[in-house]
């Protein structure tokens, strides 16, 4: 019985961080942010050499067969480095949905190349976490029609798309009738966009008849986005503590002012329990525990609240320079901002947790 990380898991985080320090320093993230055609394939290749794209894919399909907890730990590292690469959808949510609900042929077609990092997959499911505008996808006579907003890992070669009845379909980016349109968000470290379907031929994952497949896919994504926020918020707190230890005003370092210390203590006290919460949520999904869905909803909602608080407070501790582009702290602030809205806002997720417990 042990509530904590294994040596292998700690090692996974250390190796990822080591690679990210070299491959994705802030200067690299800035270049990605400023150039829409940049696919950051150098960063992707560096991480693919560690096996990141195939982390959770079955060994028989060329992956490492690890669990969601391992994936969450990886996501935490990516958030900490505001890494400009796709992950949640392409490396975890889509492959696991394929393994859960795809045919052998579908798995054989996609999993090995996803595991290798030779192609990437996006996920278009946002209509199930709050449909905006007229968005929604219908499946009629073998074809998809409609619109899917806020696609995860948007710069992908293939998309997994949910229709109105929660069934999942595979659609390749160059399919006839599919239009992919970029959206510009505050977070420039990841691509965001929408898909327009004009009678696009699509194949269903047969197992997704069971609506639990989509729910489980969403829950995995929620835990991964929460992990990304944990990493990003931890970076902001570390940056605040470190800055407060060197910046001098009134003849002393600002970190010796109690007002500044207490801001940092409040951030740490709010953030540290999220780590245990996240491990528990990821592990519960791995075990398919009965409370896994409720826990995933709560974890993302709570992490979003704490992330928002840390993002604001850590910026404040930096004073004016925290507000500048020069320092670049805003990349983390914005990453946390997008994670908060994706796959369900905190209010919506709490409502879902309430429903799952019979409170609503």
């Amino acid at each position: 019985m042990d509530f904590g990380l294994s040596d292998d898991q700690t090692l996974l985080q250390t190796s990822l961080s080591r690679v990210l320090n070299v491959a994705a320093p802030l200067a690299r993230v800035r270049r990605f942010a400023e150039d829409e055609t940049d696919k950051a394939s150098d960063v992707w290749d560096a991480l693919a050499s560690l096996g990141l794209p195939g982390l959770v894919i079955a060994p028989a399909r060329g992956g490492m067969g690890l669990g969601l907890l391992d994936a969450a730990l990886a996501a935490e590292c990516l958030g900490r480095h505001v890494a400009p690469i796709p992950f949640a959808a392409t490396s975890v949510m889509v492959p696991l949905a394929l393994q859960d609900a795809g045919t052998t042929a579908q798995c054989a077609r996609w999993l090995p190349s996803l595991a290798e990092g030779a192609c990437t997959a996006g996920l278009a499911v946002s209509e199930h976490t709050g449909a905006k505008e007229d968005a929604g996808v219908r499946y009629i006579d073998g074809r998809l029609c409609g619109r899917a907003l806020f696609v995860l890992d948007f710069a992908a070669d293939v998309f997994l798309v949910a229709d109105e009845s929660a069934r999942l379909y595979l659609v390749e980016r160059d399919a006839a009738g599919l239009e992919a349109r970029s959206l510009v968000s505050i977070d420039r470290s990841r691509r965001l966009g929408e898909l327009l379907f004009r009678a696009v031929p699509a194949v269903c994952l047969p197992g997704s008849e069971n609506p639990l497949v989509l729910q489980r896919t969403l829950d995995r994504g929620r835990v991964l986005l929460a992990a990304d926020t944990l990493g990003a918020a931890q970076h902001m707190l570390d940056a605040a503590v470190s800055y407060a230890g060197t910046r001098q005003q009134f003849g002393r370092v600002i970190g010796s002012f109690q007002a500044v210390k207490h801001l940092c203590a409040e951030m740490a006290a709010a953030l540290e329990p999220c780590r245990a919460l996240l491990w528990y949520a990821a592990h519960s999904l791995d075990l398919e525990a009965t409370d896994a869905h409720i826990t995933a909803c709560h974890t993302k909602a709570h992490m979003a609240e704490v992330g928002k608080f840390v993002a604001k407070t850590a910026t404040e501790v930096h004073g004016g320079v925290g507000f500048t582009d020069l320092l670049g702290l805003h990349y983390w602030f914005k990453r946390i901002g997008l994670n908060r809205q994706w796959l369900g806002s905190p209010e919506r997720l709490r409502h879902e947790a309430a429903r799952a417990q019979g409170y609503a």
Binding site: D2, R252, S256, Y280, T299, A301, H302, E305, Y359, A360
Partner: protein
Amino acid sequence: MDLSFGSRYATFRESVRSFLALHGASAPAVPPDLRALPTLRWQQRLLEHGYAGRAIPTRYGGYGATPDILETRIIAEEFAEAQVFPGLSGQGIMMLVPTLIEFGTEAQREQFIAPTLRGDLIWCQGYSEPNAGSDLASLTTRAVLVGDEWVINGQKIWTSTAHLADWMFCLVRTELTSPKHLGISFLLLEMSTPGIEVRPLVTMTGDASFNEVFLTDVRIPATQIVGGRGEGWKIANALLSHERGMLGNPNVTLQRFNALVDLFRQETIDGRRLIDDPVWRERLLKLQGRMLALRCNDLRVLSGRLNDRSAPLAAMLVKLEGTELRHEVEGLAIDALGELGVLYRGSPLLRDQGLWQQHHMYFLGLIIGGGTSQIQKNIIAERGLGMPREPKLAAG
């Protein structure tokens, strides 16, 4: 992570449930009368089944189980679900027993642990003084060794349950020439010793739950010291971590949260149940998310202690976050009840004997007691995050 909720735990959970089904009705109501026979009988039953004193060795009257965090969690969850009183948890059981196990002599362990676990000995904690609160190490109550007796003079204040207690563990200054933190010793006094006067202080809840304790030429045997002379501060700090863990215990908060859900299901406003109102439900769920995070944090801290993988920051924040959360859980019931929420003891229409108000106030006290929230933040910043210490204004 290894939380394999395997069949062993399913069986264990079943055994807790059947215990509760069989015996739960004989548990005292919360808060229990500490001296009443039903309370003591219930405590005895819990000890026999390993739901109290679970990891304390049998030779000291405990159950002698190997510590297992999942079992601990299951017990807490099931008692919370059934809303059954989970046993005595005063300062004796939560603080003194672990201290004696770590620092006491064999004779002290044999004399005190078993009766404390049974609830036969009630303890109070004599640390704070009128001029030594947050700055506890400046305390001035003095003990001088005369022959084979300590002679004690001074005053303690805010001493919870001193009016009920049989014994007090306290901090006193014994080494007058040592620096302030190194001059303090940890002594055990029997409350019936001549020279001890207890004056109750009424708190905002209306109860007299803490006291002033005056000590005038109190003589106790020289052997009633725990650890060596001048080691009191070190020992007190070791056990403060137990106190701080206890004060913010999220598993106890779970009991209250479950009661809050019941309240939300029963009470109506404009004919609509509180639970059906999205605004109140959102506030409820927000607290549930925070509680879940603290309960996971608790598992991590416990597991870290058992597996030698310490998580100092995770342990340091429990008191701060846990007491604030508990205060808010109690406060949400009051808010949601509207005018009914402000009724207090003796009133018609009173809900739950006024417990929501009482606990809401009491937990404001516990935000202050055991090291205020500001002091907790100092500790987290300085020891947890390694930030610079306060510049000292006066030499001390």
